[in-house]
């Protein structure tokens, strides 16, 4: 337990510390070179415990998945520094090793110890998704990687700055290992700037309130987050609920991979047990254990959105990740497709939790990031790579239908404008539209997925896709129906084809005038379709969200008798 702290100071300090992290976020977003950070906000900053690495405070604007995973990055540095015994004021560590820090190798982590009066007070950290970190595929989504070495260069925690002195050797190594050194340099400067700002703000805060008070407040905020989580869990029924869903395949072998969870609530505690999940795979749909634990956190935060973003929330929750499963992959198993696997983890947690508390949980979202790149050479020999993620529908909820064309639950990234893509790359979108009949039926239906059809305007190019949900649809909850599956086609001289592995394929050769067509899943439905008002179904038909045939099949003929 923490030392007593008066509730007013605590409330003020809670806001002040959260703001330090928010200001670090704002600093990097403003300074970052690459759009994945600057526009999609694929980055995060926070304050972490000096001994455990636990998340103390994290910025609100960063990517949701980082909220849980950063503490593992800090812990990796704590372990490394303890081994070497040379932690010094002014040090900054850098690394991208996903087996130590979670997520994937594109995420560059900077970790800086913060000293006060000669003693370690806490850590500050900055993570951001760099545009390119070497490896076999530009942008680093390599669906056929069988080792991390094929995904990117790998940097374990090393000192980028020693006691205030930048190690130019490290910078030189970094910049030689990326296809986009300018972008990397810009992002690195931005991250260093964010950490500098964090140190200055923390200095001011400790000057104003004193070390003991701030430490007491940090402890108290963890305790209160824990109390909030326990109160939430106590409000749910006790019991054990299970859910299983599947990944299509690992990108190498066409075998479905089960992701299974048993969710158990007993009083004010919860256990999430992933026993029964598929073993480590050859292809890159594995994730490291830190990623798995962090993903549980993301799912919990979506179910209880008002909880604070600190480690106290997870104290009453035990996450059991079986050894040898694809959720606990050891180095150097490839993890580049981690987004697909953690989306499926969130889906099964939702499906299990919905059995316990249907009003608290939304149906599955579209469940795949659909990393699609198209690359080629222009007539002048210049290389181009168009790389983007695509959207789909959100699940229905107790309150409303799901959102049409939303972003993934692990992200808040927006999609680049079509016109920006067409201006930058030799492509034309024949279609950028909602996908009719893609939503899961329900009392509140899911949101609609999308259709993107992209035509090549240059002589030739190659397309690469890393997606999922081609074989297993996003599920509804509380009696809601599943959504449509992911569908991908590519055009050749003899007509349209689809990949043998459904949503994953390398090196699709395109000629001028040929196109690829991606149809993304909608969200699952919420509640029984029979409970949807016929007027709402008729409106969906009138607006073309549903074809008449699909409407009658999902909801029966009653809609034909009413006006929308």
């Amino acid at each position: 337990m923490s030392a007593a702290i008066d509730p007013i100071t605590l409330a003020v300090l809670a806001g002040r510390m959260e703001q330090i992290a928010d200001e670090m976020d704002a600093t990097l977003f403003r300074a970052a070179f690459n759009p994945i950070i600057a526009e999609a906000h694929d980055a995060s900053h926070g304050l972490y415990h000096a001994v455990t690495g636990d998340t103390l405070v994290q910025g609100k604007a960063g990517l949701p998945i980082f909220v849980g995973v950063m503490s593992f990055a800090v812990k990796a540095v704590i372990d490394k520094a303890a081994e070497a015994g040379d932690l010094a004021d002014g040090d900054i560590y850098i690394f991208n090793d996903a087996h130590m820090g979670g997520t994937h190798l594109s995420d560059m982590r900077l970790v800086r110890p913060y000293f006060r009066d000669g003693k370690l007070f806490c850590y500050l950290a900055s993570v951001g998704h760099w545009h390119d970190v070497g490896g076999a595929v530009p942008g680093n989504y390599n669906p056929s990687a069988t080792e991390a070495f094929q995904e990117a260069f790998i940097l374990p925690p090393v000192k980028l700055v020693r006691a205030g002195v930048l190690q130019q050797d490290i910078v030189d190594i970094l910049l030689r290992n990326t296809r986009l050194p300018q972008s990397a340099q810009g992002d690195l400067n931005g991250q260093l700037g964010a950490l500098d700002l964090g140190v200055r703000r923390l200095d001011e805060l400790l000057d104003d309130y004193g070390t003991d008070t701030v430490r007491a407040a940090l402890d108290a905020l963890q305790d209160r987050a824990e109390a909030l989580m326990r109160a939430e869990l106590s409000g749910l029924p006790d019991g054990r609920w299970e859910a299983t869903d599947y990944l299509d395949n690992d990108g190498i072998t066409d075998t479905a991979l089960p992701i299974r969870v048993a969710l158990e609530i007993a009083g004010d505690r919860m256990v999430l047990d992933f026993a029964g999940t598929a073993p480590v795979t050859a292809g890159p749909v594995n994730i490291a254990r830190p990623t798995a634990v962090a993903t549980a956190y993301v799912a919990i935060k979506h179910i209880f959105p008002d909880l604070p973003a600190n480690a106290g929330v997870m104290r009453p929750i035990e996450v059991r990740v079986p050894e040898g499963s694809l959720l606990a992959a050891e180095f150097p198993a490839p993890v580049g497709g981690y987004t697909e696997t953690i989306l499926r983890m969130i889906d099964v947690i939702f499906s299990a939790a919905a059995q316990a508390a249907p009003d608290r949980v939304v149906a599955n979202a579209y469940g795949t990031i659909n990393a699609l790149s198209i690359a080629g050479k222009r007539a002048n020999g210049q290389r181009w790579v168009m790389f983007s993620f695509y959207g789909g529908g959100h699940g229905g909820s107790s309150e409303s239908d799901g959102l049409n064309h939303g972003n993934a639950p692990i992200s808040t990234a927006t999609i680049p404008p079509m016109e920006i893509l067409e201006a930058a790359y030799p492509v034309m979108f024949r279609q950028w539209a909602l996908r009719p009949d893609s939503a899961g039926a329900g009392a509140h239906r899911g949101g609609l997925g999308a259709v993107y059809e992209i035509e090549l305007l240059e002589e030739k190019a190659e397309a690469f896709l890393f997606g999922e949900r081609g074989r297993f649809a996003p599920q509804g909850v509380a009696g809601g129906a599943p959504a449509a599956k992911n569908v991908f086609h590519y055009e050749q001289a003899d007509g349209w084809h689809s990949p043998p592995l459904a949503s994953k394929m390398l090196g699709i050769k395109l000629q001028k005038g040929q196109a690829v067509r991606l149809e993304t899943p909608g969200g699952g439905g919420y509640g029984a379709p029979a409970d949807r008002a016929p007027e709402a179904v008729a409106r969906d038909v009138a607006l073309g969200y549903l074809t008449p045939e699909a409407a009658t099949e999902a909801y029966g003929p009653a809609w034909q008798e009413v006006r929308p």
């Binding site: 509730p7 999308a450 607006l543 073309g544």
Partner: protein, 685 residues
């Protein structure tokens, strides 16, 4: 006699500011806003001050008619005609979601899917017309939209920023058959790359056209009937005014009209008082709105979202809002942490002390319990007195008891947390723009801001606060002050190396010609005319652009040709100032040209508002107990408007005026400057 009238219609009150240009005499009036038709309050407010409209030169209006129509979804039934394959862009947005956590909520665009019709046509990103527009299909689509009851239509074609030809042909065909003037093309409204932002702006503009032009026509007719023969102008979100004909054509530019006028006035007041760097804080019933003026210029944001998915892209004064207003509710969460807002009691039912049914304590209730607001003279004049006991009970029940605090401790806790959040907004707004807030003065306005000014100085480390003489009518005053301004944009999308500077000059010239023509058509007198050019530029590979001021002379309306070297040098200077360093061998790109054509209107001398004569003693109306930092203090009360120039008041003190209470905290000194502003500084500073 020549007079100017500024009218700001807010959510609760309609404020009128009347300036006699010859004598410099100013008067103000505050009347309740009428809903749904705001023209009633508008005319009533003017009638309070002016009997005969024939002596009035200019009426300038800051309006929320457009904002309200957007927020309440009360615009017209409209349709869009768009490129085959792209009918859903408006509904798909930029693939975002309403809130980070929870995955709940959906979105209904203002144009339902069955009123978004596709036609064969396609322009590529380089401006090549790949498929000429099928005008038969366009005419058929327009007829369908008419048959379905649409009152306005927008033509939204892909890459129309690069070549507007297809849009222009389509809009011409539709205008030939559409029964009213509410027909527009996206390239007319915003010839800028990014289809969702352009389509959304054009569609929301069409959505507002029938509503806003009807409203302005009603006002215009009523003014004319009252004998008004002068010019009627509307404040835009960019802080400049436009004629009503422009406002009817581009109503989307009024989205932040009222708040923008307030910031314009704040800038003028601060500049007159000798401060070029000021952060404004407008505290209303539900929110605290922060804006930043650096070097005498308010910051402009390129776009805003009026609500989820409702993006308006047009230059607008950047205002950051947090949910910490007088009506924001204080509550203790299950983990024992005290929170303020975002839930608000607003002005109806309002704080517990208003006795109108709310039982949960608000920030205003804390101010009432601590004696900082006079319960016998509530602001606005609607209520006879405030219920202090009810406010105290609510604070006890919802904050004191759960936290183990006395009533007074709990009330102070509410203010401490609210002040901390407001200070946080000030810090973040300045940090995000790369400014140190300590180098700024703070200017509170709106009804409640001046109660919290001392706290902002303390929390943020700001040296002084400037409380304007009439903080409650700042927006109406801003209407009278604002310049006439037109903004233009054109996407260029070219590397500097291959930039066609002649073509660029032609676009600049077109913007200047159009802008100056609008100034010429206005009846206002301008002290000066000014043209500002800016280029949105970035290194290739970088999506965030920087706004690069481009110093190109305009002589007798003729724009000199810019040079590539000059553009590159301007970019380097701006980039270095923004990011500290340049990129070695980086390729530079010009994304957009932005032009502002400004007619400077004569500024009235704020000193005419200053008090004449008076004495400190005569202004003192009494004293009462006010609670600060754990103790009751006998606190002097002054009638603020009677304080003479040069008066100095040591805190604790309270300065009262009809629509505002100014708190001089212990340790602060309030000084009345020669304009009647009250400058708050720490004692001894």
């Amino acid at each position: 006699m020549s007079r100017m009238i500024g009218v700001d219609v807010g959510g609760t009150f309609t404020d009128v500011f009347v300036l006699d240009e010859e004598t410099g005499a100013a008067s103000v009036a505050k009347v309740p806003t009428t809903r749904p038709d705001q023209s009633g309050g508008f005319l009533d407010g003017i009638a309070r001050q002016v009997d005969d409209l024939s002596g009035v030169d200019v009426v300038v209006h800051g309006t929320t008619a457009g904002t309200n129509a957007l927020l309440e979804r009360k615009g017209a039934r409209i349709g869009v005609i768009t490129t085959a394959g792209l009918r859903d862009v408006l509904e798909m947005r930029r693939r975002d979601r309403p809130r980070t956590w929870g995955l709940r909520g959906d979105f209904d665009p203002v144009v339902p899917r069955d009123l978004r019709l596709e036609v064969p046509e396609r322009t590529l990103a380089d401006g090549t017309v790949r498929t000429p527009v099928d005008l038969e299909a366009v005419r058929a689509a327009a007829q369908t939209l008419l048959d379905r009851g649409c009152a306005a239509v927008a033509i939204l074609f892909a890459n129309a920023y690069a070549n507007p030809e297809n849009e222009a042909r389509a809009v011409e065909a539709v205008r030939a058959i559409w029964p009213n003037p509410h027909v527009s093309a996206s390239s007319e409204i915003l010839p800028e790359i990014r289809e969702f932002e352009r389509f959304s702006t054009a569609a929301l503009n069409a959505y507002l056209q029938p509503e806003v032009s009807g409203y302005l026509d009603r006002l215009d007719a009523a003014l004319t009937k009252g004998g008004f023969g002068g010019e009627f102008l509307i404040v835009q979100s960019n802080g400049g005014v436009m004629g009503t004909d422009t406002a009817c054509r581009l109503p989307v530019r009024t989205a932040l009209s009222g708040p923008a006028a307030g910031v314009i006035a704040a800038g003028h007041i601060a500049r007159s008082a000798g401060f070029d760097n000021v952060i404004t804080g407008d505290m209303g019933g539900t929110s605290f709105d922060v804006a930043l003026i650096a070097g005498g210029r308010s910051q402009l944001a390129p776009q805003t979202a009026i609500d989820f998915g409702m993006v308006v892209r047009t230059p607008m004064i950047e205002i950051t809002t947090i949910g910490a207003g007088g009506g924001s509710i204080a509550w203790v969460d299950k983990g024992g942490l005290l929170n303020i807002g975002p839930e608000s009691a607003g002005s109806t039912p309002g704080p517990v002390a208003y006795g109108q049914g709310n039982t949960r304590p608000t920030v205003t209730d804390a101010n009432v319990v601590l004696g900082r607001i006079d319960p016998d003279k509530p602001i606005g004049g609607k209520l006879a007195r405030l219920d202090v006991d009810a406010a105290a009970r609510a604070i006890d029940t919802h904050v004191g008891a759960p936290l183990g605090l006395t009533t007074l401790e709990a009330a102070e806790a509410i203010l401490t947390v609210a002040n901390s959040r407001m200070a946080g907004a000030i810090r973040l707004v300045s940090i995000e723009r790369g400014f140190d807030p300590k180098r700024f003065a703070f200017m509170p306005f709106g009804g409640g801001g001046a109660l919290h000014a001392g706290a902002m100085l303390r929390e943020v480390g700001i040296g002084r606060a400037i409380v304007p003489r009439y903080p409650g009518v700042t927006s109406a005053m801003g209407c009278v002050i604002a310049d006439m301004r037109q903004d233009f944009v054109q996407t260029v999308n070219s590397l500097t190396a291959g930039l066609d500077t002649d073509a660029l000059r032609d676009v600049m010239q077109r913007h200047v010609d159009e802008g100056l023509a609008l100034l010429d058509a206005a009846r206002s007198r301008f002290e000066a005319r000014e043209v500002l050019f800016e280029l949105d530029m970035a290194y290739v590979g970088q999506t965030h652009t920087v706004a690069v001021p481009l110093p190109v002379p305009v002589t007798d309306g003729r724009v000199a040709a810019p040079s590539v070297a000059g553009i590159e040098a301007a970019f380097d200077a701006t980039y270095r100032a923004t990011y500290g360093r340049l990129l070695k061998a980086g390729t530079r790109r010009v994304m957009n040209l932005r032009t502002a054509v400004i007619g400077r209107r004569p500024k009235f001398d704020l000193a005419t508002l200053a008090p004449e004569g008076g004495s400190l003693e005569a202004a003192r109306t009494g004293s009462r107990q006010v609670h600060f930092a754990g103790e009751w203090h006998e606190t002097a009360i002054y009638d603020r408007l009677s304080l003479p120039v040069g008066a100095e008041i040591r805190g604790p003190a309270i300065l009262v005026q009809p629509d505002t209470t100014v708190l001089v905290d212990p340790g602060l000194v309030g000084r009345v400057d020669r304009f009647g502003n009250t400058i708050l500084t720490p004692e001894g500073a």
